[in-house]
């Protein structure tokens, strides 16, 4: 086969695939219309099958030609109203579409595809229809306005065997294909179930030359489209990227000359604008409507519903919303799974639905829309919803959450547990009515393409799955990080937060669990990896004195400084002198920049040297030589032309063997130990009364802190007041109620700790204030409370905080006690 023939064949395959995709929803619509079949739809299906037959005959693909011929015969019966598109007939037709597709997929061996069964079924339909001609079969289809008559009923279709070569309707050699409407319009309309407004085109059975047909098309309705190889688009996109780079360099280079050369500024602006538009335009060529995807599900839903004896309607909205081709491709499987779950598990049997007062037919709605630079796709159903208690119980049984944590979960968190890894395995979860099967895989896939997924449910009323997707995979916002003069990009979606650990805090925040470093961050323990170690990069630091780059010899992350760090050889005594004054431990060079990354549901920290800017990067796939390296997701070219690698958090976690489970275990054990030791985790405010006595109150018992001047305190009898928000606020001196020292004499500035009222009412009405000489700190602590040395109103205990014995006071109790005392001794 020569080059040209190969191209014609390729073209034929692509076109036929498109045709087959388009006729599936049409067939299903025929079923819905029953006897009132629209000639428009039937003609469209007819044309598609006929084109396939014509092309196959032209290319000498006998099996394909013969099968399409039989298929076409059934369609003729339908068109001539000799046959009604019952579900059984449509089943056979859909099966036949599958056969055609199988033949097209391996076109050279299409005669190997087994089609006897389908051929028999199709022929059976034909003979059945001919035996009992439907009424009205001979009435001319008046709605047919195309000027050309269909052949009379029963007229055999021009058999390809008669020696007349059938010209394929869409001639493969013609590169420009004139489509009746834009593909996306077609998808939208067919999804919405509206008839497609279609310009007249020759009926398939009439061997009219395509040129004549094209002439008859009204030009205003026709948009010309052209098939372009994706490779070429990718190449164009690369070149556009390169052009942007060149433009940036040009603008920078000519920046100071723009005023010197007359007219240069305008030229540069023009180049600038055109370049940007060019790049945007090329990006757009890769965008496709999600309708392409939606239209597949019509058949899927019908198929599953029929096999389960359910009735399900699929509604789609926003089919015109566009996403990058690659996103659409990667979305197909997870979305299929979600929809399959809907029909399988969520929608009840018709009888059950009627019992509950729901319509017999379940409804699944697919909705796509733009929001904040992303595309949201929501799949919702009106099925039975998910039972939260059962989900929670199962999650606890499977060890996904422990009972303690479970109590803290919100309703939405609980539903989303079904997507946790290990929640559902092959085992069916029919006991949990809803849709949990394999959702962890769905979640992984969605996250892989930079999206997010969330479930919500109302038990008995339905579930909705919300997917948030990036418009394109090709451009993703990323953070550029540096390790030893090398740069890497980290996709923003996988960054949970950035943390900086000061050198002085390193030993406090980083500890070892079974020789693996972990970071303590807000009470959680995160496994920690040093990117340099992972990649085998020699670690360096910049000497703060000499600005020299030196190897970093700290062996472990938790080491603040290696014992063996020798003074730099050849350094002047002066340098050594200074080194002693500013120990590197205290210097910023020893701080750690930690990226907290997300891999699935796990979080972990990655230590890097430097953080640079966020950049929108164009992702380029890894070459086959680099695919085996786990920790990279792709490559990209930075604005300055330099090639850098994109990090893959999942791969890093895998590669560095992060033992999430072990660390979780350890964290749980630590929590339990803490509980046993009756350690309390508290947010507290620490203050002084006299300088050497330290007190603490829990933050959650305090309404607010105020600064006051001592001279504003008014004395009335044995009570002290201060004017506060228009009223007199009673003051409480600690030494009036507790055996503690009074306020120091010399302080002019004092502080008021205003407790919340005990009734817990939310009005910020103040009943009194505790006077303090100094607020020392507000902090989170884990304390082991001991019995106090004395008892008194509000005294809770003592604990050592920062080497200071601290008295814990409940300010509310103290305030109430003071109130009672005042009333008792007015």
């Amino acid at each position: 086969m020569n080059d040209e023939d190969t191209e014609i064949l390729q073209e034929f395959i692509l076109e036929t695939r498109d045709h087959l995709t388009e006729i599936e929803p049409d067939l299903i619509q025929l079923e819905q219309q029953g006897a009132e079949v629209s000639s428009e739809i039937i003609n469209r299906v007819f044309r598609a099958v006929h084109s396939t037959k014509g092309g196959a005959s032209f290319l000498g693909l006998e099996a394909l030609k013969n099968f399409s011929h039989v298929f076409e015969n059934v369609l003729m019966q339908l068109r001539d109203k000799k046959l009604v598109a019952t579900p059984d007939v449509v089943d056979v037709l859909l099966r036949s579409v599958d056969v055609l597709r199988a033949m097209i997929d391996d076109v050279q061996n299409c005669d190997q595809v087994s089609c006897e069964e389908e051929t028999r079924l199709l022929n059976g339909i034909i003979s059945g229809a001919e035996a009992a001609p439907a009424p009205g079969a001979d009435s001319a289809p008046s709605s047919d306005q195309r000027g050309q008559r269909s052949p009379p009923a029963g007229d055999p279709v021009t058999p390809p065997a008669d020696g007349v070569p059938v010209e394929p309707q869409t001639t493969p050699v013609l590169p420009v294909e004139e489509l009746s409407t834009e593909p996306k319009r077609a998808a939208v309309d067919s999804m919405a179930g509206k008839p497609i407004s279609e310009p007249p085109s020759p009926p398939a059975d009439a061997p009219a030359p395509p040129a004549a047909a094209a002439n008859k098309m009204s030009k205003s309705e026709v948009k010309e489209t052209l098939r372009v190889k994706v490779d070429l688009l990718t190449r164009l996109m690369n070149m556009a990227g390169e052009l942007v780079l060149g433009r940036n360099q040009l603008l920078r280079a000519l920046d100071d000359k723009a005023d010197e050369v007359h007219g240069l500024k305008a030229i540069l602006q023009h180049v600038d604008r055109v370049t940007t538009e060019l790049q945007e335009g090329i990006m757009q060529t890769r965008m496709q409507p999600v309708g392409i995807l939606f239209s597949r599900y019509t058949r899927l839903v019908r198929g599953i519903a029929r096999s389960l004896g359910k009735e399900v309607e699929l509604e789609a909205e926003g089919a015109e919303v566009e996403l990058d081709k690659s996103v659409i491709e990667m979305l197909a499987d997870p979305l299929t799974h979600v929809i399959r779950n809907c029909v399988d598990h969520a929608i009840e049997a018709p009888a059950e639905r009627q019992q509950q007062g729901k319509p017999r037919a379940g409804k699944i709605s697919l909705k796509a829309y733009h929001q904040g630079g992303q595309v949201n796709i929501v799949v919702s159903d009106d099925g039975r919803g998910i039972n939260r208690e059962k989900v929670l119980q199962k999650a606890i049984d499977k060890g996904i959450v422990n009972a303690g944590d479970a109590a803290k979960l919100g309703p939405r968190d609980i539903v989303n547990l079904v997507m946790a890894p290990g929640f559902s395995t092959a085992e069916k979860i029919s006991d949990i009515s809803g849709r949990g099967v394999g959702m962890d895989v769905v979640r992984t896939n969605i996250e892989k393409l930079g999206g997010q997924i969330e479930l919500d449910t109302v038990e008995g009323a339905g579930t909705s799955v919300m997917l948030r997707l990036p418009l394109t995979l090709a451009i993703i916002p990323s953070l550029v990080v540096g390790v030893n003069n090398e740069r890497f990009a980290v996709p923003q979606v996988s960054i949970v937060e950035l943390a900086m650990i000061r050198a002085a805090d390193v030993s406090k925040r980083i500890e070892l669990i079974e020789a693996s470093p972990v970071l303590r961050i807000r009470g959680r323990l995160l496994p920690l990896v040093r990117l340099a170690d992972l990649l085998g990069i020699e670690r360096t630091y910049v000497d703060p004195d000499t600005r020299e780059v030196k190897p970093d010899r700290r062996q472990r992350i938790a080491d603040r400084r290696s014992e063996s760090l020798a003074p730099p050889t050849g350094a002047s005594p002066g340098t050594n002198e200074r080194r002693r004054q500013t120990d590197r431990r205290e210097n910023w060079q020893s701080d750690y920049n930690v990226l907290v990354l997300r891999a699935g549901t796990n979080h972990f920290g990655v230590i890097v040297d430097e953080l640079f800017d966020m950049e929108e990067i164009v992702v380029k796939p890894l070459s086959s030589y680099l695919k085996s390296i786990k920790c990279f997701a792709g490559t990209t070219i930075l604005g300055d032309g330099r090639v850098i690698m994109i990090l893959d958090p999942g791969g890093i976690a895998e590669l560095s063997n992060l033992r999430f489970a072990k660390i979780e275990d350890k964290a749980r054990r630590l929590r339990e130990e803490r509980d046993q030791a009756r350690l309390d985790h508290k947010s507290i405010i620490i203050f002084n009364n006299a300088d050497d006595e330290v007190f603490a109150v829990p933050q959650d018992r305090v309404l607010r802190l105020e600064r006051i001047a001592r001279k504003d305190i008014a004395q009335m009898g044995n009570r002290q007041f201060i004017k506060y928000r228009g009223t007199g606020l009673p003051l409480i001196m600690l030494n009036d109620h507790l055996p503690v020292k009074p306020l120091p004499e010399n302080t002019e500035e004092l502080f008021l700790i205003i407790p919340k009222t005990h009734s817990g009412d939310s009005t910020d009405h103040a009943y009194g204030g505790i006077v303090a000489s100094q607020i020392i700190d507000a902090m989170d602590v884990d304390v082991k409370m001991q019995q106090p040395f004395f008892s008194g109103p509000g005294v809770k205990g003592t604990a050592i905080i920062g080497e200071q014995l601290t008295l814990f006071i409940d300010p509310i109790e103290l305030l109430e006690a003071a109130d009672e005392r005042r009333e008792a001794h007015p």
Partner: protein, 159 residues
């Protein structure tokens, strides 16, 4: 008759069939890829396309190249670009990689022409080069020129 681009690697004269060569350049700024196979010298940006540069010496089983004044990259065509040439030249045997690959060599020489008859099989005494990657040898001006087998050389599964 086939044309070959000649080059030197560790002083050894070698040839690559010109039908496979896309371009030759001297781009030296490459990005090293950690954890990559040893023969991957790095990645370069060729007008917006990323090219994997092979350290040819390492790939052939020798010590790494040192970059000098005369160091060149021979950028090869991809399989996709070759598909037309295969048909046009009736050379179904031509094979390269699906990715864009460049070979780092010490210096570039002339383009020479040989007939198939001139190409001899690989002598048994060649040990310093992995002979899986050679297509044959040709006696040329009192030297032995090694012709490379690009299909094997660029096959990521051949270690």
């Amino acid at each position: 008759m086939s044309q070959y681009v000649t080059f030197r690697l560790k002083n050894q004269l070698m040839g690559m069939e010109i039908l496979l060569v896309r371009e030759i350049n001297q781009l030296k700024e490459s990005t090293f890829v950690h954890l990559a196979p040893q023969y991957v010298a790095g990645l370069i940006n060729l007008r917006g396309q990323i090219v994997t540069i092979f350290d040819l010496a390492v790939r052939l089983g020798m010590t790494p190249c040192t970059i000098g004044e005369e160091t060149h990259n021979i950028i090869l065509k991809t399989n996709d670009e070759l598909s037309r040439i295969r048909v046009k030249e009736e050379r179904a045997d031509l094979a390269s990689s699906d990715d864009m690959v460049g070979l780092r060599v010490d210096s570039i020489g002339d383009v020479v022409e040989f007939t198939d008859e001139q190409v001899e099989s690989i002598p048994a005494n060649i040990h310093h080069i992995d002979e899986r990657f050679l297509a044959g040898v040709v006696p040329f001006k009192e030297e032995l020129m090694f012709l490379l087998n690009a299909g094997m050389l660029l096959n990521s599964e051949v270690q």
